[in-house]
């Protein structure tokens, strides 16, 4: 694999926590890989599995999703529903041949800017380590 390989990563971040967490990382000037393209969503519950499938279909190398910690969802229950979907979707992706390292779901609060950057860095490294996705995957 070439050293220059830069994976394309799509991040879905909940507006109320993880997105604010990413913001905090920015204002605190903590650096993290710029491979992630962030899409702000109102709640992790807004992330339809269709979004995830579509990302991979359009050529994303990895998909990263982060929402409020269980119990902290702005809409009270959004992430409780969402995590069930995410678990099933993750196993389906793996079953269809998309390595499970390419897909990660995390809980990140608005104050966890540091944690956010660590997670994203580790995820980016993991995805980069896999190399580009196989033809037709």
């Amino acid at each position: 694999m070439s050293v220059d390989y830069q994976p394309k990563i799509i991040g879905f971040l909940c507006n109320w926590c993880s997105y604010a967490g990413a913001d905090m990382a920015g204002t605190s000037r903590i650096t993290y890989p710029s491979n992630i393209r962030i899409i702000r969503v109102p709640c992790s519950g807004r992330v339809d599995p269709l979004f995830i499938a579509k990302c991979f279909k359009e050529g994303a190398d990895g998909v990263f999703i982060a929402g409020c910690h269980p119990g902290d969802c702005h809409y009270v229950e959004g992430n409780y529903y969402a995590r069930r979907r995410f678990v099933l979707m993750g196993s389906l992706l793996e079953y269809l041949g998309i390595e499970k390292e390419r897909y990660q779901v995390e809980w990140v609060s608005a104050s966890e800017g540091k944690k956010f950057t660590q997670l994203v860095s580790a995820f980016t490294d993991k995805v980069a380590g896999l190399g580009p996705r196989a033809e037709g995957q």
Partner: protein, 289 residues
Amino acid sequence: MDENIINQIREKAKELLSSGTVECVIGYEAGTDGMTSRPAFIYEASDVERLVFDNTCTHNLATYLINKKTNKVAVVVKPCDARGINVLLSERQIEREKVYVIGIVCQGVVPVSWSGSGKDLQMRCKLCNQHAPVIYDFLIGEPAVEPVPTVSPWTSVAEMESKSSAEKTDYWNKQFSKCIRCYACRQVCMGCYCKECFVELLDPEWVGIKIDTSENSMWNMIRAFHLSGRCIGCGECARVCPVDIPLGLLNMKLAKEVAEHFEYRAGLSAEVRAPLATFNKEENLGIGE
């Protein structure tokens, strides 16, 4: 053919139709190949002689209830199809008062194609541990001791799971590339009742009209996902696929995940919500540790 079952179906149908209890009885009749059965819609008591039942009655008639919501109808169901009725009830798609369920204690059905049927039972029947319907108004047959399946439902799934990512990709690409997007799998499924399916949405267009591996994969993946925790394993989708894509292997994977994570099996009760329509605060499901 079991004359006794057939006679009871006909008698019941006659009674329901002549008393005006139901508008229509959805059952099975002989098909044009003279070998296999097909769905039948009987509106008049004088037509009940058309009704039959045998081991080629593979169709899941619960599917048709979605189109028959106005007046009360009766429907003949096998135990697997009966679970489909529970799914529709729990999702508030049909009203209990408007369906008269004629349940059959089933001995299994065989693989069926036009002008031919197999001898061995269908896979779902080999896996079946419930030969009496979970829901009925009138039961035909004696519920005997419930069978213990000799095959494990997850064997083929585990085999696929054990393959490498490259092998899996290869396998599914080959399968999905055959899809001609006839949507027969969706149309025969009792769980696929959306008025507008995601695959046909124009704005946003999730799946393009191009019939190619990439678009087809999107279709096949999300079709299966939308049925996770709702698929009752009737196997109709795979039966009707004209290009023989093993859709059951996808559905079973999700059924396995649902069983493992949520200890749930679709259709056992009309009172319980499907796993993706509810949650449990205490579970952590391995996310964000």
